[in-house]
Amino acid sequence: MSDFLQLGSPNERPRAPRLDELDLKFSDQALAELDELYSHYPDKKSCILPGLWIAQREYGGYLNGEAIAEVAYHLKRSYAEVEGVATFYSMYNTVHAVGKHMIEVCTCLSCQVCGAYPVAEYLKKKLGVGFGETTEDGVFTLHEVECLNACDRAPVLQVGSSYHGPVDEKSIDALLENLRAQEESTVIQMANDIVKVQTGPLKSK
């Protein structure tokens, strides 16, 4: 078989990093949290979801390839498997980096009929971005999400760990004002909250 019609040489595809080439970033606290989580489950595979939450916090709110590889490294799973899990769930930010605050507008059914789309339009105009985009200053990312299950507060939106609703143009203005003033990233805060509620008080400390 000649190489006449062969597509791509072996070097054309970038190869995945070997385990010893990874630049591990998990803090001591993260490792302690992982240790605590191992004790909850009979195997390490079950820690993939909690592990990804830790990674989302440790890597600043965005699960890039290195973050996924590090989770795979700690849990002794294949990169592809962990990536498959991470990309399945909508709350892991795997596609692109996000801003400091993520504004997630629910437009599903109850919110839809209570005026979520005008609210979303207002947000788009005010921030100058569309759904899935981040403002130029990197502060806000706007997302459309499915039902947040706070339909009594429709139209509702989520920023970090908190829900806000029902919102109107006035309350949105106030909310954005507050968020701009906030130093800490609500995206990271939220990942941290999620890790904390799962680990509980760390036994090792």
Partner: protein, 696 residues
Amino acid sequence: MATVAATDTVNIVINDVDLQVPKGELVVEAVKRLGHEIPIFCYHPRMKPVGMCRMCLVEVGFKQPDGSVRKMPKPQAGCTLPVSEGMVIYTDTEMVHRDRKGVLEFLLINHPLDCPVCDRGGECPLQNNTIFYGPSTSRYIDIKRHAPKAFPLSEYVTLDLERCIQCGRCVRFTEEISGDAQLAFRFRGAAMQPSTFKLTDFDSKFSGNVIEICPVGALTSSKYRFRARPWDLETSEGLCLECGNGCNVWLDHRAAKLVRVNGRTNEAINEEWTCDKGKFGHDYYNSSKRLTQPLRREGDRFVPVSWGEAYAEIAAHLGAKSAALVGSTVSNEGLFCLQKLFKDGFGSENIDHRWTRTLPAAGERVAKRHESSIASLEHKKTVLVFGADLANSQPIVHLRVRKGWFLNETRVVVAHSQTTDADSFANLLLSCKPGSLDDLAMGLERAVAEAQKTDVQGFASFKDTEKTTSVKESALREVAAMLLEGNASIVCTASIYNENKPVETLAALAKIAAATGAEFNVYAEGGNDEGAMALGVMTGRNTHEILQDCAMGDLNALWLVGADPLTLHPSRRLAEDALEAVPFLVYQGLLECEAMGYASIVLPMEAPGEHDGTYTNIEGRVQRMQQAVKNPGDGKPAWRVFSELLVRIKPGRPSFSAKEIMDEIAATHPAFAEATYDKLEKEGTPLKPVIENFYM
């Protein structure tokens, strides 16, 4: 009424035919007993059923005490449903046909239907099922899903996501069979796609299999791409000789050229899998470096000569002070004729085919090389892989061991100084310091002896063993306990002869095996190395001695049969010196190579698929490969060269066919008694266990 002679059966009805089938058999399999078929995509008999594609929906009901049938309200997936007593299955109702049509319509709305330019066209399950069961037109008028076409996922595999029907076969293959989990589904819903991590290189030793199991043209072979259409292909049953496993393959050829190698089912060996070396490693058939005619050196260059001239030249130069070094792809017949030629024709016994660092003498050799058949490995309770990188050197054995671990709770212990693919699933890893395998084996022997409360005088203490190997006492004791539980197998390969003190290591392991009742295997490595050993080809000087003799000027002539010492021998220096010094060198081979530069005579050899021949795999299974393609030049099979030459030197009746030679082998070698062409079985015939002249 088809019946099964087993007590654990259930009575079911398929399309109004009463049937008795084993309890728990899947509906999709049970239906085959009637010669019926349920169309499938995601189901694969060698992987766990998942019920993803819904192509196999059937109607299912249960017989009621009053004789009526109560149908389940929803259609059921036949690929996941085990049969149970009183089950009534309908595969041919209006509803079933409507459902199949519906599923196919769904699958096709996002399929590009680019069959005319798809390699799978003509042998595509999606095409076939659509023709049999699908709708003739589509009601879909919206925009199809788009993805990059012909994405090179690796050197071998090309991915076309538009064609993918998300059946998950490839993903499950890497999870369940090869175990490298290189592929996974990414994203969800309609965006779901199989992929490697971040679309990096698909780095697997078994990636070629996903091409074969893909039910559409989503994963195609980069090497076979656009080279033929299935209906232009002829195919022949072939064997792979890249290693000694003896995998069965289909050799697909077009216009007498080999274009593709696919796995062929042999339950005793490779089931249906191939490794990438086997699937893509047959470049030599069509290589531009192929030797096509006999050549004779004249000064700095080679000139073509006739076979007769070449024979005359060889006959004039070879005698008692000559030797032969053999590669691993010469057939049993070739090896036998070579031996005869040297013994009867030249009066020399100097033949060897081994290239390891240590070449044990007759007295030091292990008596048993293959107690466990490949297939039996999946049913072992414990498998100890000692000092072997199975995934690289015995890929199919690796798959079996992993299968046992994955399906049958086989406990796998890996003892090695390097990292191997088996580490990822090993229940216990004895990772020792480089060069300490011998100490490890002895430590293990002590652990077994202690467990059996026998004398441990003369053994190193566990502390010392830990110092030299870094393996802890507790781990050794654990392995000993596992081996003593019975039904265990110790797996080594001939590569152990490249380690320190292999003879002592193997002796220790053999004693452990004897003490624990474990089966012991030192599998050969090359394509027909086991055949060479079973035939007792080498009796005189060994490889090292032959090369040394050449270098010292003690040998007048050397014949290289499909072997290049410069790449095979551990000491390149010695090989160079030998080839430089030897006055007359015959190189017989498939391709041009470095050693050829030293040759006086060059003989073209036929590749294994170009002539009839038998080969013996690592477990002593003799299999026959018939001619699949024609030699591109004037090459001859090795056995013919040897027997033609012998007639010239010592007139007599020559052998006319490989079959005849095999009869002769069977008559002279008791182990091969059942391996004549008339008696060879479909899955190959195991050698008769004759403990005689066994050595490594």
